[in-house]
Symmetry: C2
Subunit: 913 residues, 2 copies
């Protein structure tokens, strides 16, 4: 209660557009994005319908007090609505000159379509007549009233919207009316009577005629929608905290459906799909905003240029209402300069007068985001550093995955709008539930829907791509898919979808659930079967941003690469070396595993050496290929790490074949398999423990590494920078024993080949003990030359959680809030992170210049990269495809640290502003 | 080389008994135990044959420089030997009046029988004649010479001692001589010729006649024996570092074999077996020291009292040489008072004159150690604290194991000397190798030998007990067995042992290899079959020391006890509570596991609750029994911890039976088994993770705990101090979720039963993250009330080493010196220990009085207890049988910390002084 009282001292309701404007753009936390921007636009003198915003504090108090509004709010709202009415010379609830309002949610971050909105509030059986008189358009008035009843009935009173749709459809059928525009005022009056009767039937109470009761009902519904299932899901997917709460904006209605000189539309100041600097948007004449977004009528384009580009027909706003269009273009560029970012704007033209309803930083594809950031920076609107900070590093991921190979023939079976770029192939499913089921089984799916709604969001998340038959570029499907980075083709009108039968019919083509299609969200094409994909490349704005990022970052970025193919990809993506080259992968190849098995089953060191001698030339060749690609960049080679039983056959038939090939009795092979089996292989006979037991393995590997280095140096003249890394070290003595073996190999190779080789030796830090003993392990000239934090294993040991067994535990733990994010994806800063910090501090205590990096999968996670920057590591190493992500994240970390921001600010949050 | 030069500045040779005595008792590190004590005795004015000691520095330089003696040593030795000669009016190498010397090893710690000794050195073909003339006893002179050749030939020249034994046996046979005493001077001369010829044959070089060459050969042999296989083994078993090195003592010979007024003997100032304050020792008339120790002739007792006690025959020293005996007793008590400890003394009487050859703190049984410490303290010779510090806590273990139940009839088949107390049963083996083989297979064995030699030490270590046919109370077998804490019966002359045939014949009884016998080292009895054993109790000196220990320690000692039986045992051994009561053990009982399996296989919470309801009354009854025994001492109950698959059947047939009993399809059961199987169960679905997934398990357990507490309080009136411990917590949120469940159960039970219960909640700290986040987990009133470090799991996670899989790794790691001691036995202070320290510091930062203990197996390891004391933990908890060990270790830690000693000084070292 103390909290309530404190908060009560503060203003709960903020006016805008009424002459007095309390808020501004900086008050996003309190007023939500929408409320803050309306206040800001109002301050700018733009034509904003007046209104007021109920703060997010009210939302939080509402939930803190069992859904009870704080006292004092009532008077404040009544006072505010009177002032709004005064500003437009109307009165709320007045039968002659009624003020109608829109009630909308407005969270700090945009959650498109997730929360409820009520329009036309303030109409009742009396005020509708006043509206009809004032507007001189009875049809408009009754149409508004029925829309209001329908929306309020659905959202506030909980009457299924199907009830209203059925009434309307039925009425049209009975009266032979083909479309809504054919209904006259009387028709709408008849529909309204049926709507009211239906509400009475459904909720056993009449539709509220008291306009204040309507207002409180709507405010309550908007507040409640913050905790709707779909809003909660959206927040979870987008990392939006529950505690932010929502503001409620009540704003005077303006009408795009007041005849043919009225219109409503949405616009982006730049193309949100490509980033091109062109007005991009859609509108509908004589319609309310919901008609544009809902995808029920296919909207028209704003500009003639866009129409030409897309090759569509229909009049543009530029043609139909040139004055309003001209005013709009001026406002667009003003808003973009003011907000220093591409804007997403809702507008309405009522009887030829332009009203700006909303502006916000527009969602955009990653490609568009890059281009917009670069072009804004080049235009001097923002700095290069700001451009770098504008891009969510994680989002780059979608540019770094294959697209359809343009050189291959495609069997295009349909086309729609290029609603969200990128290509995806998968099995056809028809419901969100199917999409999730298939996903769980590891299958890639394309979700095919007539149109999508917020209820489909979880299925869209589970799908590799989305295909819809209806809806434009700003339809629900398109906006949500772009936000999620899922390819989407929308409005492909030729699709005939029968979800019950599980068929998708396109002309004569009948596809069934489970058939594979490919969609290309960049062209709008739908392709039969799985199309050939092409590797992405860094170019254009992407390359520019990467260059700017590289200029500011201090953390180097390497790649984890085990093969020449990986190494090539890594260099293409700008890796500055290989941070982890796992040598065991080299042994699993058909031709090699037999020698490996022979080694494992040998009875003595002599037998092992004989088998290892067969592996040596193959291993050396692997290294030669990688060194040639990477030189002179450093390559960190990790010695054999996995438990030996991973190399042995575990099934009877396979064992027989192997025993025969090795000319050994099968019982002996089985005995060896059984001897090497372990209760907890993760904590068992692996890493340097293998090498200490069988030093001949390390002898062979060291020889292969240094012979390869010598050969490549001789062949290419380039200096090969090899770093040999000993895995799973926990004790200095382990390091010393194997370092001696490796150094002896270097000396031998130098002697035999008459060369002088550089030899850098280091250890993984993947066990808590290693981090704690880092000083001892690095101490002295013979101590480790470098450390590489193996944060995968370190996470397993610090949390006592096996990654292979963690799935059910992780799911439950995210559910009950033990952690927000999978600690194998983003580093556990408080636990694992502390050991990393300890390891760094102690390692550098022994050797101030000790080179340190990380090579766990966290190396490609932006939040983790930011943490590693703060730890002052020298580099992160991640999969080749994540290298650009890490480069950008490292740059952002450097910029934020320079600007004194807290480390680990989630960059996603910034972009959703 | 710099090192050599530095050391050269120091004295390499220390004289004693020559008028000048350089050393004293405090110079054990430099002079070895023997050398330091000879110097000390010499300083005390005791009759010590003069000599000098070559320092351990020389030994270390010798090994550091490829077995080369440092320069300067030659002159120093020659100078010293001249001074020794002068002191006894003889000259080394002089043909008329030759000085003979003994050359012995002397390490800092006693290593009985482990290293080489050469006697009678200085004899050659000339000096032997001088000795004959001077002593007037040609037989003695030639006997000494042949002994010298034999010993030198074996030890220095490497000629197998069998060669000499064969020659002698052959000579006796040919000449019809029954025993050595029958050989006259001429016989020995003939034997000597054959010995010398044999040496020439074996090593192709003559036996050295140059006495200085003899001396250097002997010094080298003693130095080399430091690295003999048996010495290395002994050091490994007894934790003696290699780097200590050995000193070499060269001392004028005195002769116990100069006729019937000569004798040699060993004595303890107290009974080393029982600790009784009585002279205890043996001697042989006309013999050299080796004859007593070797067990070839059965020696006579020193005192009449001992003879009466043991019921043996034969003249005592007290009878035969009363004057020497009287002088000896005076010296004994003087030495004991001087050294403030029971002494083990070697003496020789030459022609009636007493010489003291050696004194050292005597090895003793644990029981004797306790009694001696208590009696010395009670006599005011040492303080009570010193008495507490004198006992190796680890050695108490042997008093805490079963002895033969005296109330049961024993089939005694033989009797020998009670050489090392305690009882042991096991299968008969006849060689050290067999003993090791059986041990590896987990079988308990009794090693049966005619007599033992240093080559048998590894087998004695592997055996549960040792039985010999020959040798006295100070024979090799007896001394080594007492040192190792192995029961031993020696000198059981009625045994006829045929190792090749694998039979032990005692009268008509023929036992074979593998037959079971029991030996009672406290009575000397050999019993057929496995005798009933009795649990030990704390009484007498043991109880007194425990009382003194309790008076000084600050660390409390609890026990790990899962059953009422364990709990009773724990209280008897002085546990101050239960630190770990594992509840899962309660579920494995036949009657309960089915309900447990039903719970695991239930499809929903309702089904689980139904199964848990069956377990509740059983679990409650367990707790009631334990609470009744322990109240008002605290009992820490750990919630269910192991992975659920441990409760499920894994074999086909068992699965069928369980499926039938549970009335479920076997496929469903199999599916559940497979679903719960894990790659790394140690890091999987266990501990609090189970409870967070299935909170109903915790509900049931909490209810059982608190209902039991309420019932016991009502029944007994005593306050039950329950501490509920949540396992495997890594995150505060895990703790909070389960703490809420438990607190709700407390409230419910209080309400239902009308009682008020104390409820202390805490967590295990068994993961690195938990230690790092200790402050957060303990913070606030709702935070943990206590921590218990689970050092078993903490060791597994910090080292990344699965205990179940560690055996082959541990063995290899001890071999190559990664660690000296198994980290699962004695805590890894540098790694795991640091996390304990971090956890303590952070926990107390949140709550200054936070109660903290440890409940891993390290709780019963003295070195670990010492560390935990230093960490300022409140208690350790260990197995009931280790409680007295922990109590003593805790007291020693407190004393050492008070006295400013370094923590973790191995107490074994102190006792071997």
């Amino acid at each position: 209660m103390a909290d309530t009282v404190d908060r009560m001292q503060q203003r709960l309701v903020y006016l805008f557009g009424t002459g007095t404007t309390h808020g501004h753009a900086g008050m996003r936390e309190l007023l939500g994005g929408k409320g803050a921007n309306l206040a800001e636009m109002s301050n700018l003198g733009l034509p904003v319908p007046p209104g007021f915003t109920i703060t997010t504090d009210v939302s939080n108090l509402y939930y803190a007090n069992a859904k009870t509004l704080p006292s004092g709010i009532e008077d404040a709202v009544i006072d505010a609505i009177d002032k709004v009415g005064a500003a437009v010379d109307m009165r709320f609830g007045d039968v002659d000159n009624p003020l109608l309002v829109a009630v909308r949610s407005g969270a700090r971050a945009s959650m498109p379509g997730m929360m409820d909105t009520i329009l036309n509030l303030g109409l009742n059986d009396q005020t509708v007549e006043g509206l009809a008189r004032r507007s001189g358009d009875a049809r408009f008035a009754y149409d508004s009233y029925r829309r209001f009843i329908q929306m309020y009935g659905d959202v506030v009173l909980g009457v299924d919207h199907g009830v209203f749709e059925d009434i309307l459809a039925n009425y049209k059928n009975l009266n032979g009316l083909a479309s809504d525009t054919r209904l006259a005022a009387e028709d709408w009056q008849a529909v309204i009577d049926q709507y009211k009767a239906a509400i009475m039937r459904e909720i056993e109470a009449p539709f509220p005629q008291d306009t204040r009761a309507q207002l409180w009902g709507a405010i309550g519904a908007v507040l409640n929608s913050w905790q709707s299932a779909r809003a909660i899901t959206y927040r979870r997917i987008n990392d939006i905290p529950d505690v932010w709460g929502t503001a409620v904006t009540v704003q005077a209605m303006v009408f795009g459906n007041m005849g043919t000189s009225s219109a409503t539309g949405v616009a982006f100041t730049r193309n949100p799909s490509t980033g091109a600097n062109e007005i991009y948007g859609e509108f509908l004449v004589n319609a309310q905003g919901e008609d544009v977004v809902a995808g029920i009528r296919t909207p028209q384009l704003l500009t003639n240029a866009a129409r030409a580009d897309l090759g569509t027909k229909g009049a543009t706003l530029e043609e139909l209402m040139p004055a309003a269009f001209a005013e709009l273009t001026v406002i667009f560029s003003r808003l973009e300069r003011h907000y220093r970012d591409m804007q997403d704007i809702e507008f309405t033209i009522q009887g030829g007068k332009l009203w700006i309803l909303q502006t916000r930083s527009g969602k955009r594809t990653v490609e568009a985001g890059l281009r917009i950031a670069v072009e804004l920076a080049e235009a001097g609107v923002i700095t290069r550093d700001e451009a770098v900070l504008r891009i969510d590093p994680g989002s780059l991921d979608q540019l770094l995955h294959p697209t359809i190979d343009p050189s291959v023939d495609r069997q295009v079976i349909a086309a729609g709008l290029p609603a969200s770029p990128g290509a995806a192939a998968g099995e056809i499913v028809f419901t969100a539930e199917e999409a999730e089921e298939f996903k769980v089984k590891g299958r890639s799916v394309i979700l095919v829907r007539i149109e999508t709604s917020p209820e489909d969001v979880h299925g869209m998340y589970a799908a590799a791509g989305i295909l819809t038959a209806r809806g434009g570029m700003t339809s629900h499907a398109a906006v949500v898919a772009r936000g999620m980075g899922r390819p989407c083709v929308s409005g492909a009108g030729m699709l005939r979808i029968d979800a019950k039968a599980g068929t998708l019919t396109i002309g004569k083509e009948i596809l069934k659930r489970g058939d594979v299609i490919t969609i290309d969200g960049s062209t709008g094409q739908v392709i039969k079967g799985r199309a050939e994909m092409r590797q992405p490349a860094l170019s254009g704005a992407f390359a520019t941003i990467m260059g700017w990022a590289d200029a500011v970052r201090t953390l180097k970025v390497r790649a984890n690469a085990d093969t020449p193919r990986d190494a090539k990809q890594a260099r293409e993506f700008g890796a500055e070396g290989i941070g982890l080259c796992r040598t065991e992968h080299m042994f699993f190849e058909e031709a090699r595993i037999l020698a490996m098995r022979e080694m494992i089953c040998a009875g003595d060191a002599k037998g092992r050496r004989a088998a290892l001698a067969k592996i040596l030339p193959m291993q050396r060749a692997d290294f030669e290929a990688i060194f040639e690609i990477m030189a002179p960049l450093p390559v960190t080679i990790r010695l054999l790490d996995p438990p030996l039983h991973e190399f042995l056959p575990h099934h009877e038939r396979e064992q027989e074949a192997v025993a025969e090939a090795l000319k050994m009795p099968i019982d002996k092979l089985k005995a060896r398999v059984s001897e090497l089996s372990e209760f907890n292989p993760m904590l068992g006979f692996r890493g340097c423990r293998l090498a200490i037991r069988y030093p001949e393995i390390t002898e062979m590997q060291a020889r292969a590494v240094f012979e390869a280095a010598a050969n490549v140096e001789k062949k290419t003249g380039a200096k090969v920078a090899v770093e040999v890394m000993i895995p799973l070290v926990a004790y200095r003595r382990e390091y010393d024993i194997l370092a001696d073996v490796i150094r002896a190999a270097v000396v031998a190779v130098e002697h035999e080949m008459g060369v002088k080789l550089a030899c850098s030796l280091g250890t993984m830090i993947e066990l808590p003990r290693t981090a704690l003993r880092a000083e001892e392990i690095a101490a002295g000239e013979a101590g480790a030359d470098f450390f590489s934090f193996g944060t995968n294993d370190l996470t397993q040991t610090v949390l006592g959680l096996s990654r292979d067994d963690a799935a059910p535990i992780l799911a439950r733990y995210q559910e009950v809030g033990v952690f927000d994010v999978d600690p194998f994806v983003s580093i556990d800063v408080d636990g694992v992170g502390e050991l990393v910090r300890i390891g760094v501090e102690r390692g550098r205590k022994a050797k101030p210049g000790l080179k340190m990096g990380i090579c766990g999968e966290h190396g490609g996670d932006p939040a983790s990269v930011s943490f590693f920057h703060a730890c002052e590591l020298d580099y992160v190493s991640c999969s080749p495809f994540r290298v650009p992500v890490a480069r950008l994240a490292a740059a952002q970390a450097a910029l934020l640290a320079r600007d004194g921001d807290a480390v680990g600010v989630a960059t996603t949050k910034r972009n959703s502003a």
